[in-house]
Symmetry: C2
Subunit: 448 residues, 2 copies
């Protein structure tokens, strides 16, 4: 008898889960239910307002569902009946499932700031019409305040500058932007680049009140500072969507998401949860970790989608791998920063190395690429790494992530074979990843 697989949610995690399920269960019937008429590329949202110039250029093509013989239903899943193994939708339809995957995402956090409900205050919602409205509002704006200096906040700021008509100010609670992903010295490099692009950055400041007359006019900070604003963007994070799960009795935590095991199964073994809605634990500490990223979600999707009727893959928990780019400066991070590791009580040793990303450095277009590696002192295990430089930084961060996931020690990284090329990498003498590990190895030796 043909098996029915239903996926609720059409973001990257839902789509990847559907495709993975198709690969492992070719005979099954697969339905993807999503509420949005068109699905947004979530990490592409900031680029709608600058580089891309339009929200329609930032869509996940439905063709990929078609190609993989996945039925797309545009509808809202309202409730799950676990006894009958069925889903009821807003349009009054019923869908039966043998296995169900929840990929229902997250919702932007809205901080309890006075005046937050005012017109022209926007959260980063994955909703085409909402984003188009923001686009329109920006056309008539002059002063924008972004509350939150994480990746999304910075990317919005940098893209807004490309419009030419906006003064942009970032208000960040921590002393520096990006501090949850990078150590201070790297955060400062990013801040310098954004300032060079004209962005104002206020670190260590808290937005207290949004003032205006129905429509926002200014943002008041702790300490009475007041910033003119006709548009405010909230970029302070997200919370997992869990209502659909808790309504049918699945275990979930409001802050952390739907409870899942290492196989991406919820407390009901016929229901899986993946992506932003699913609880994540830190690969390195086992503690809850909020890695709400499409990349993390699709990894979970590849695990959950393969495990539906047959356990194949085990999640190794979240390492946390990020990258971003501002003009000619890209930065990436994988695993723990030095400061996060120390806060957790770990003893660490670091190795830093930087060199031109072409060789000889006299080649046109050569720029500095730097790597910082963080190792646990007792074991010499790699627990984190950060990179800054040109466009190869994204793949470099992924490379470091793979080394963490595969439990490499400093001395093993030192003897990695690599290819080098004048136009593509540092010189083999100065190759940053290996030299950073080499420097750490010597420090680890001395520490013994």
């Amino acid at each position: 008898m043909q098996k029915h697989i239903v996926i609720i949610g059409g973001g990257p995690s839902g789509v990847t889960a559907a495709i993975t399920a198709r690969r492992y269960y070719p005979e099954s019937d697969i339905t993807l239910i999503r509420v949005e008429e068109k699905a947004i590329v979530p990490c592409g949202i900031p680029y709608i307002f600058g580089t891309l110039e339009s929200a329609e250029k930032n869509l996940i093509p439905d063709k990929i569902l078609d190609t993989n013989n996945i039925k797309l239903v545009i509808d809202q899943a309202e409730s799950i009946n676990r006894e009958e193994k069925s889903i009821k939708t807003s349009a009054g339809k019923n869908f039966n499932y043998d296995k169900l995957i929840l990929a229902i995402g997250s919702t932007p956090l809205v901080p309890p700031i006075q005046g937050i409900e005012m017109e022209n205050v926007f959260a980063v919602r994955k909703d085409l019409d909402y984003l188009k409205d923001l686009s329109k509002k920006l056309e008539k704006s002059k002063d924008v305040v972004i509350i939150g200096g994480g990746f999304i906040g910075l990317e919005f700021a940098d893209e807004f500058m490309k419009r030419g008509n906006l003064n942009v100010t970032i208000v960040e609670l921590l002393p520096h932007c990006l501090l949850l992903a990078c150590d201070e010295e790297i955060c400062k490099k990013v801040e310098a680049k954004l300032k060079e692009h004209g962005v104002n950055i206020l670190g260590g400041k808290k937005a207290k009140t949004i003032k205006g007359n129905g429509k926002v006019e200014s943002v008041e900070l702790d300490g009475e500072e007041k910033i003119k604003a006709d548009t405010v963007i909230l970029g302070i994070g997200v919370k997992p969507n869990i209502k659909l799960a808790t309504d049918c009795g699945l275990a979930a935590d409001e802050k952390e998401g739907i409870q899942v095991d290492d196989f991406m199964r919820t407390s009901d073994p016929d229901i899986f949860a993946i992506g932003d809605c699913a609880k994540k634990r830190c690969y390195l500490s086992g503690m809850p970790k909020g890695v709400w990223l499409a990349s993390m979600g699709t990894t979970e999707a590849r695990i959950g989608g393969a495990n539906l009727f047959n356990v194949r893959r085990r999640s190794e928990c979240a390492i946390g791998i990020f990258s971003t780019c501002f003009g000619d400066l890209a930065v990436g991070s994988a695993g723990l920063t030095e400061s996060a590791a120390k806060e957790m009580g770990m003893e660490v040793v670091t190795g830093e190395s930087s060199a031109a990303d072409k060789h000889p450095g006299s080649l046109p277009g050569a720029q500095e690429l730097g790597i910082k590696l963080v190792f646990e002192k007792d074991t010499g295990l790699l627990i984190g790494g950060q990179v800054y430089g040109g466009v190869s930084v994204g793949e470099k961060a992924n490379f470091i992530g793979a080394l963490i996931q595969h439990k490499m020690r400093a001395d093993e990284v030192c003897t990695f074979q690599m290819g080098t090329h004048p136009l593509l990498t540092a010189s083999p003498i100065a190759y940053q990843l290996i030299n950073a590990a080499q420097l750490a190895t010597v420090k680890l030796r001395k520490a013994k």
Copy 2:
């Protein structure tokens, strides 16, 4: 008593060995003897004739030796006295050593073609004056024939085109260029790009005779074809320099190089050999493998340099990781190609995946990045990978090399965590490395 370490050879391997030795043996006295007044960046040589515009821009800075307190001696090592543990030089000097590292490199192969001794026939020698002479000759040239369509040959061809005054023809014995590093479909992409740049490529052809009147005038191929040429470049490979080693009774093979163990020791445990002069075995087959690359040499240098007085690191043999770049097309390769594996009698399964290297693909500057992974059928172990696309290809090939070195299976690669970013990588749904592994996994399952 202070120990004396001597390194003979000032290329990337020699320099890296000296720096590594300094890190592990900080109290020792380290001397590097090299014959060249100035040391050339070997992989940068083709770029002297186009992008860099001058040989002087392609030097390894001596400062790095100074910084690491390494004595530089410009002289020719003539003989080694293993009993006395000393080296005699052309200038009549003697250097004592406790440990000696040979990093004496390789010499371009000169094929037994009639007329090869004529004026304006150049091999790719790492010699500043020789390369300057070639530069001068090119100014008065119109037609250049390059014999050999490997990496170096193609890079010369592409750089020569940038001069604007040259007709360039590559003559390659195999049906396609680059066939020793890449499978045919990737070789064809590279050939198409070079042809787009105006290079003539003659595959499956053998240069038989060089004709001229003292100075080269044409190259005659097997089958009577004749190509006009006022300059000829030989890019058919190298042979290891072994004379200094064999003269003092060290074991060596003329084609493969000085015999070394997994710790980079020669048959005399006080003498190490690294880089082009040292024999290499294939990581995947254990057979001799000619990976004469600076990157490979520096890996060996990091092993040998650390092991001098204290065994610390073991070589894992040569995977062979290459990358190169022609205009907007970069290609990279690690490990075995599909065809090489099959020739060795292995049964393999491949996975191919390509997607835009930014997401959404509508972002300006997005270009296709494709990955092919090769797995051994019985074990599912990754044995090779090839990449084509933009500048991140170099690091991507290194990433694949690391996965091979750490014995990853297809199913493990599928659940790698990665970060993705609109401006830096493919979308998480389409992430090529993981999707290529996923496709192979499904094939491997079916094969069982």
